[in-house]
Amino acid sequence: MSVKSPKKMYLSVLVVLVLCATLLVAPVAGAKPVDGGHLTIAFYSSIQDTADLCKATAVFTKMIVANALDTLIAKDPATGLYYPGLAKAWEISPDGVSITLYLREDVTFHDGTPFNAEAVKANFDHIANTPDCAGKEAYSKLGVGDSLAGYQVLDEYTIQITYNQINARMVENMADPFVGAMHSPTAFVQYGADYGQEALVGTGPFVFVEWTGDQGKAVFSRNPDYNWAPEFYSHQGPAYLEGFTVQGIGDVTTRAAVVEIGDVDMAIVQPGDYLRLVDQPGFKGWLQSRKGWGDLSINLSNPILADLRVRQAIAHAIDKVAINMSPVFQGLGEIKYSEFTEGIWGSDPSPEEVFGPYNLSYDPARSEELLEAVGWLDTDNNGIREAHDVAGVEDGTELHLLNLVRDYEKAYHEIIQGMLAEVGIDVEVRVHDFATRETLLFDGEFDIAPWPTTAQSFLAFNEEMHSQTVPFYNIGFYGNPVVDALLDGALATTDPDLQREYYRLVAIQVLKDLASIPTVKANNTWIMADYVEDVKSDLMSVGFDLYDAWLDQ
């Protein structure tokens, strides 16, 4: 068969190729956000205690209500970079002790109250002067009664906050929902002590509608006037969603069931259900990498654990790879090499590259050698070692440790319990609710305990490892003058590279001291209906940012 016209043939082939390419690209290029729809989410809880973040103690509350609030400075959760928020610009004084915020002039609260410098001052006054806020996170981050010298309204849209010393956390704190999120001063007056229980009035893309309790619902609707989103979002103007509802469901299997049958659009589930549902028609998954630090905290005030060799024995007995591959994590966790996760430290170089050399490998034989060297022997062959000439411990005392956990940590810590039992350490895993456990931890009534904390950056590490914060947050009674000096140095500079170096040295020293043993970090495993688009991670990387979210229905 002869080709009648080569030119026509080539042209035909070219047309076909272009058409094919168009068909391949078109679906991707054509997906545009659609207005409308109400998103329902099954989460650990709805708003837990109060929506007034100054008084709130529950971290899940912050994640939910942040969708109704804006912060003075905005931080991109994806990159960690700071952008104008309610403040269109800011200036740090050359001596590093004050920050001046130049506020936007086009913002109103959900109740119509104009946003200005007096509103910001009213918010700081609320933190400083409300009895239920004293000592809590907003209070300490603002520096009330400590480093805060004061705040001044310079003009209608300018406010200056001044500290007694260099404050490396000024910008971060203004981006933190606890300190930097603005609530309506009119609402503070109108609702008084009931603000946060009966109302939440911010400037954010969503308006609080109602709340029916911890294991009930928190309902929000779209703010039609919203037009001041930070520039890292993919659009401006009102949110696409008409609203959203957070349904508090504490039981993880129930959350999986309700998303599977379509009662909710998305839910945080356990890894096993994630893997089961992620490839099913009608669903997709979101593996949300948690930021933060902290892991198996060790109570150094216990004479048994005061010996570094015992802590090293514990570290050598833990097989992180096996933990991550267990049904508890299904390979979806992240092996930790230091106090800092990749989300805090970054990936170039990775935490494994920087801190891996300082980690103790899984080596049960070495673990047993260390315990025997200290004087922990199992002479009665009951599987539990007892003390023989161990400093500070009566002879015959069994090597028994108490591990206080929350219910969702039980399965994970049963694995650690089993691993430590292999080397003759008897661990009691005791489950407590959040509040009871915190009280016991701060009272030092534990031996080991998971103490992972979600966080935005290195800077909050000071609360957990500085000797001055014992026992509130520094639950392990850890005190090392070298670490204290490094942490103080980090706060005394606003140079981010220098801060990073300080914290690298801190993390290495903490690894050498084994004040806390890095194991495996759980990531959030979300399952959602396949029509849910563009849900982003919040600042804490545990919750959700719904401003750009939409429903492709």
Binding site: T253, G272, S326
Partner: protein, 265 residues
């Protein structure tokens, strides 16, 4: 007969567990986690790779121990109070019955959770909670039977010849009220096992790594969609054990307590 056979099997497995169990109930093997039933692990493994057959038969030891101790607590407290109440009558009877009424006013699980909140979550505390919950049963049955027996001639004669009260109660009344109490105890054995399993399911009873059916059900439930055996087999074991105990208890009641004095709730 079927109940008795089942119960004998359960008791045998529980007693002989250390000799017949192929594995330790506590030994983890994460590489064999959630393994399906096979010749290596006849009932499969749980989420930590522990052999389910071993954990179930050791769990039987735990459950039977729980049942006997909880029931024993109730008997040791409830029976004497019932005998005293029925024997003396008057304000003693009124006071004790009002105390019983207060206990009965609480829903069982609420009472147990209150006790656990005070004492802390553990298996011994769960046994105490379960025992306290059924004390009213023994007080009432003991009282009811004592009221009848104290009018018998030999009791009256004993009092007439100057027998001390305690001697009369122990020597003449107690032996004659034991039958319905024995039947009650046999029936309560099942209910206390189930009660403590429920507390363990809620995380208030047995603590890890204890092999106990309630906690095994709670753990297995999380992986039900991936592996049914860690939840189903402990549930079947619990079901069969309770069935066996109840059948034996019913049989005892038919034989020893035809008038149904042991029926309280």
């Amino acid at each position: 007969m079927l109940g008795l056979v089942l119960l004998v099997i359960v008791v045998f497995l529980a007693v002989a567990a250390p000799w017949i169990s192929p594995y330790s109930p506590y030994k983890q093997n994460l590489r064999e986690a959630l393994a399906s039933p096979s010749t290596t692990h006849i009932l499969g493994t749980d989420h930590l790779g522990r052999d389910l057959f071993a954990r179930i038969i050791y769990g039987g030891r735990t459950s039977l121990r729980v049942g006997f101790i909880a029931t024993g607590i109730a008997c040791c407290i409830g029976i004497p109070l019932g005998l005293i109440s029925g024997y003396f009558g008057g304000w003693v009877d009124i006071l004790l019955m009002r105390l019983v009424d207060i206990l009965l006013a609480f829903p069982g699980m609420l009472l147990a959770l209150t006790i656990m909140a005070l004492l802390g979550p553990s298996l011994p505390n769960a046994m105490i909670a379960a025992g306290v919950y059924i004390i009213p049963d023994y007080v009432r049955v003991g009282r009811a039977t004592t009221l009848a027996v104290r009018e018998f001639d030999y009791v009256t004669s004993a009092r007439a010849v100057g027998c001390p009260h305690w001697h009369t109660i122990v020597r003449y009344i107690l032996p004659n009220v034991m039958l319905p109490l024995i039947v009650l105890a046999s029936l309560n054995l099942a209910s206390t096992i189930l009660f403590v399993a429920g507390l363990s399911f809620l995380g208030m009873g047995a603590q890890p790594p204890t092999a106990e059916w309630g906690i095994m059900l709670a753990d297995g439930r999380l992986y039900l969609r991936q592996a049914w055996w860690p939840a189903v087999f402990p549930g079947v074991a619990l079901l069969l054990t309770l069935l066996a105990i109840n059948m034996v208890g019913e049989g005892l009641r038919d034989a020893l307590d035809p008038r149904g004095l042991s029926r309280i709730r």
